[in-house]
């Protein structure tokens, strides 16, 4: 145990995801030894995040204004919505530059163990976005794990009476990978989802 302030810092850092006690200690001592200006910038950026970053009122992506950059962009088409779990998934899909529609960030996936049901996600908000009829296609891009699949199945069921085109991202082989390294489940899925060429 260290003296008050240092230990407090270590404890706080240790609460961050992916940071264990050893890393927390290393970061804490790095900060102690760092330039006052560097630490000041870190403090300022933490405070700015607290003060300025909000969630977009339409898609619940992180935003610095009432609406996020994507929702404000008039060039993005209004008829397709891609549903993702987290804001970081938006960034991942944006990197592809393939998708020109808009997003909807659920804020997680259905997981009863963690006490997360549809009411804890932005599902109602998604439904009201779909109500006005301008959206014709829904792409569900939740994670390809049990919880993500469950969320996708739930959403698909929920919107099926609306007559939208609903699709789920394909799962299968990674591009540039070797067939022999794929696990059986992935390979099995790839077989199921094979395409004619």
């Amino acid at each position: 145990m260290y003296e008050g302030a240092v230990q407090d810092l270590i404890d706080e850092l240790g609460r961050l995801p992916g940071v264990g006690p050893k890393s927390a200690q290393r970061i804490a001592f790095h900060l102690l030894a760092a330039d006052a200006a560097d630490v000041g910038r870190l403090v300022a950026s933490l405070q700015r995040v607290q003060a300025e970053v909000r969630f977009c009122s339409i898609c619940f992506n992180v935003a610095e204004a009432e609406q996020c950059r994507i929702c404000r962009d008039p060039r993005r088409s209004l008829d397709t919505i891609c549903v993702v779990e987290e804001p970081k998934d938006v960034v991942a899909i944006e990197r592809t530059r393939e998708f020109r529609g808009r997003y909807h960030v659920l804020g997680g996936a259905i997981s009863p163990i963690e006490g997360i049901g549809p009411d804890d996600l932005k599902v109602k908000e998604l439904m009201s976005r779909l109500m006005d009829g301008s959206v014709t296609e829904l792409i569900i891009a939740t994670d390809p794990n049990l919880e993500g699949e469950a969320t996708a199945a739930y959403l698909a069921r929920l919107v099926s009476p609306m007559g939208l085109a609903v699709s789920r991202l394909a799962s299968g082989l990674p591009v540039g990978g070797d067939l022999e390294y794929a696990d059986e489940v992935t390979l099995g899925r790839a077989f199921e989802g094979r395409r004619r060429i």
Binding site: P112, L146, A150, A153, D183
Partner: protein, 396 residues
Amino acid sequence: MYVRHLQLGSFRSWEAVDLALTPGPTVLVGRNGQGKTNLVEAVGYLATLGSHRVSSDAPLVRHGAAQAVVRAALRKDDRELLVEVEINPGKANRVRVNRSPLPRPRELLGLVKTVLFAPEDLALVRGDPTERRRFLDDLLVSRTPRLAGVRADYERVLKQRNALLKTAKLARGNLATLEVWDGHLADLGGQLLAARLQLAADLDPFVTAAYEGVAGEGADRARLGYTSTVPLAGDGTAFLPGIGVPSAAELTAALARRVEERRKEEVDRGVTLVGPHRDDLVLHLGPVPAKGYASHGESWSFALAVKLACFALLRADGEEPVLVLDDVFAELDAGRRTALAEVAGTAEQCLITAAVAEDVPAALRGTRVQVAAGTATVLPAEVDGPVAAEEAGAHG
């Protein structure tokens, strides 16, 4: 296959041990509490990533140590196979095969094949259904490694679904998402169930034959059955091999129907009542189930027959498993000892533990390893003339 070399670090009572092994029978002798069973338990761990004695990994690590290491060199199909497992209780275990790390420990399953028979196996006959389900699933995974994923996913879905059912009791609105989990449950449960039924059907003739060998002529006929919470054939839920195994798709559909029928009950009780996690493998002896009806001796015979059947089945699959007999000869009478010795004598490698060497039939007393005071020493052969005594790592 056989284990050529076994090395343990901070595993159970062993701080460090290094033991060279040979094909054929090897008897590990030593007084109680010296660590004989711990040695063979380590071999079993490589096959199942679990212990036959405890359900969690924590007791496997030597008191005071942070991690245990099991390292084994095996000969498999005339190739050298080096397997290393690092057991980190509470954290992810790490597995390396031929020095390259596996992305998931689970991928080791199916590579090393062992059949282990221990006094604990009496629970197969007399214990709870949990024991028999675990036995079936372990064997399934060993034969078809892909099912390890199905099994893990099924358990995860079950947890999620049970969590939901518990809350559903409070707030019925949540029931909307229940159907989603029903779909997962039926899909994975159907696959698991189909695989289990197929396995029961595959194993059944071997069990009958092995029981005949163990219990002698004129004994009741031993058979396997399976009772399921899912209706299998017609309206009955019992299953005896021979009527043909339904496909996974059929079972998924049957499971989904049954879940729907019992929805209200499940919501009231807050647990999943339908699915392979509530099923049982039934051991039939003549016209009655062995559990509750079989005598002590018959129960032993049945447990032994089931394990010998596993051995025969894996062998018929074309892979020779390592046979491990942990402290069982002392529990068996002369007739059963002979029956066991006959099979064990044909195994490519058979590891036997015994407190007294005389308990082990003479035919199996090939190589002897003395286990005492934290060391394991290969003794000169008893019967076949002089063999140079090989010091095998004496650390304490």
